[in-house]
Every structure is written in structure tokens, then in C-alpha cells.
Amino acid sequence: MDRIPILKMGRFLLVTIQVDMHDEMAMTLQEDLTSRIVTDRAQGVLIDISSLEIVDSFIGRMIGNIAGMARLLDAETVLVGMRPAVAITLVELGMSLAGVRTALNVDKGMLMLQHAQREKSA
């Protein structure tokens, strides 16, 4: 079965979603990610959706859920790489993903996580 790979980068986890997700895949991702946050003692999660051309309300809600779960496990989630067309569609759907932090690309998302980590330890 298809799985979405989760890469470890220092204290952060990087998830790149490149294919259209169906329900089962999303559930697997949630399970994999939450257990990896615990085992790797991750402090941040980067979800890269730069290769997604279509994001529907299902994926939108799932990303919101993942962010909520990660926060419970004391990890910050940053959603990066959203395309302009996707952003417009999500807003028109009424999903502004209020609980999720966002950044333009992986680079900036990483900076944002590092900044948040520094603030936490200070």
C-alpha cells in the first residue's frame, strides 16, 4: 500500500504530499506521523504541499487535524508551499485553516520552526 514518506531533519519532520490522498492514506499518514513525533521526539512538522494542484475540503480538514494532534504532542506544524490557486480555492470553500501556521516554502518554514524553538527554550 502507498505510504507517504516522513523524513527526519534534525528535530523536525518533513512530510511531502505529492499524490492525491484518499481516506485510507490520510489515516495512515496520521498514525505514522503521530508515532514518529513520539519516537523521534520531534519538535516541529513541515507539511509540503507544493506539488498538489488540487486541495479539497477533505485534505484541508486532515491538515487541520494533523496540526491539532501534533500540538498535543508538543510539536509545531507549519504548512508550506501552497499554490496561489489552491489558496484561493480553500478561501472560497471557507477553510482558512486558522489553527495552522503557514510559510511560502520549505526554507522559510524551517526558519519559522527554528525561530519558534529558540523562543521556547529561551
Partner: protein
């Protein structure tokens, strides 16, 4: 359909007379725009039209949608379009055709001694000219509408610039009312620019927006939400005192967005957030 041929013969026979009378009619009409068109041009148009018109009649059909009438219609569209852009009114444009009636009927009346009934002929000719007249009006309207829609598009493009104020800071000065269509364009432009410049902060300046109602506010909030999804924070600036009052009276919630009274204040916040500082040095007076 020999009536068309008879008419064609008549017109051909009396072409010079019809032409002179027609031009005289047009010159005498109150709708003549001597300021927009010279007499020589009018004469040339009239003569050319009469020639094409007779040729079409010669074919023996009065069906406007047949191929023989195409040159006539083409010429009429050309004239109508030209006049529409020159600034003629619809009445002034249609007069070109309708003033042909009198000279044409005059010739028909003189010829009434012939075997065919005068009434029938006048009726046929009248229908024909009416159709042509309506056609000019239609074309006139079309060209006017195309001008309007083109201007609307240009206005849309002109009125939504996204400027780079500083490193990582964009400004979006909005001028005019925000409707759904414009919001779409504004949003697209802003998001594209965010990708292009990797901006972290976008300042939406609404100094030029005359009124803010619930709909406009909703559009503004949509734009802010979309920019946030792309990782850029928005600051709304240029809120006039009256608008601040309206927003509160309408119960619009802008508490999720940073708002500033002036663009300068917004820029100061944006610079602070991106880690830039401005310092003042002594200036020689």
C-alpha cells in the same frame, strides 16, 4: 422576386437623381454632424453604398441573409463601426439609411404608371430599408458594447497594482469599490507576487476605497486569509475615521487582522516584523 429587379432597374436608371436627393436629404437633416464628417466623405460613402445596394437588388432577391447582400451588409457594418468610434449617436448613424427612403419612394411614385401597383413596391422597398436601418443600429450597438467591455478589462488591470515596498514587504493600494470579480483579480495578483518576491508581509491600503460595507469587508478578509495560507501576513491600512465608524456599526470583525490608520504606520510595523530598522541621520539644511 421580380420586384427586386424592377427596383434595381429603376434605381439604376435614376441613379444620379437618387444620389443627389439622398445626399441633399442627409445634408439637410438635423442629425448631420458636419463637425465629425466632411461632405466629400459623405458623398463617397453614399455613392459606394448605392452601387453595392443596386448590385444586390439586381440579383433578384430581397432576402437579407443570402450571399448577394453580404457586400451591402459588410459596407454598412464598416460605416456603423466607423461612426460609432467617431462619436455619432445611434439616430445619426441610422439616418444614413432612413434618409434614402424619400428619394427612392419619389422615383417609385414617378414610375407608378407601370403595370405593377405602387403600394406593393413601396411596401417592399420600405421593408428592405427598415431591415438595413435596423442592421446599422445593431452593429452600432455591438461596437459600442465592445468598447465598453474593453474599457472594463483595462480598468480592472489598471486598478490593481501590487508594489514591492521593501525587501519582503508588498503593498496593495486599492482604489475604487471591491466587487467579487475585482477581489478575484486582486487576490490572484497578490498571491502571484508573494510567490515571486517571497514576501512575508502584505500591506493592503484602502485609502482609495470609498465605502466599506459587509460585502467589501468579506472580500478583504478573504484576501487576507488567502495570503496567510501562502505564508504572508496582511496589514490593512488607510482606514479613514468614517470607515472605522461604519465597520463597527455594521458589526464587522476585523480583530484577526492588524489594522493601521496610515500606510506609514503599517510600513513601520512591517519593517519591525521583518527585522529592518530605519535610522535618522543629521541633514545639512
Amino acid at each position: 422576386m421580380s420586384q427586386a429587379r424592377t427596383l434595381a432597374q429603376l434605381v439604376r436608371k435614376n441613379e444620379q437623381q437618387i444620389f443627389e436627393e439622398w445626399v441633399a436629404q442627409q445634408m439637410a437633416a438635423v442629425t448631420l454632424r458636419a463637425d465629425l464628417m466632411k461632405e466629400s466623405e459623405l458623398r463617397e460613402q453614399s455613392r459606394e453604398f448605392l452601387r453595392v445596394f443596386t448590385e444586390a437588388l439586381q440579383s433578384g432577391t430581397m432576402q437579407m441573409d443570402s450571399a448577394v447582400w453580404k457586400p451591402t451588409k459588410d459596407m454598412l457594418s464598416h460605416i456603423s463601426r466607423r461612426r460609432a468610434t467617431q462619436g455619432f449617436s445611434p439616430v445619426e448613424t441610422a439616418t444614413f439609411i432612413f434618409s434614402l427612403k424619400q428619394p427612392l419612394f419619389g422615383v417609385l411614385r414617378k414610375d407608378a404608371a407601370q403595370d405593377q401597383g405602387l403600394e406593393d413596391q413601396v411596401w417592399e422597398a420600405s421593408i428592405l430599408l427598415d431591415k438595413l436601418g435596423l442592421y446599422t443600429t445593431e452593429i452600432y450597438q455591438q461596437s459600442r458594447e465592445s468598447v465598453i467591455s474593453r474599457q472594463q478589462e483595462e480598468l480592472l488591470e489598471l486598478s490593481t497594482p501590487v508594489v514591492r515596498l521593501w525587501e519582503n514587504i508588498l503593498a496593495l493600494p486599492l482604489i475604487g469599490t471591491l466587487d467579487s470579480e475585482r477581489t478575484q483579480v486582486v487576490m490572484e495578483n497578490l498571491l502571484e507576487k508573494i510567490v515571486e518576491t517571497e514576501a512575508l508581509i502584505a500591506i493592503i491600503d484602502i485609502t482609495g476605497v470609498p465605502t466599506v460595507d459587509t460585502l467589501v469587508a468579506q472580500h478583504l478578509l478573504k484576501t487576507v486569509a488567502a495570503a496567510r495560507l501562502m505564508g504572508a501576513d496582511c496589514i490593512i491600512s488607510g482606514i479613514r475615521p468614517q470607515i472605522a465608524q461604519t465597520i463597527i456599526h455594521l458589526g464587522i470583525d476585523l480583530s484577526q487582522v492588524i489594522t493601521k490608520a496610515t500606510l506609514a504606520d503599517a510600513l513601520a510595523v512591517a519593517l519591525q516584523r521583518t527585522g529592518s530598522t530605519i535610522s535618522r541621520t543629521a541633514v545639512k539644511v
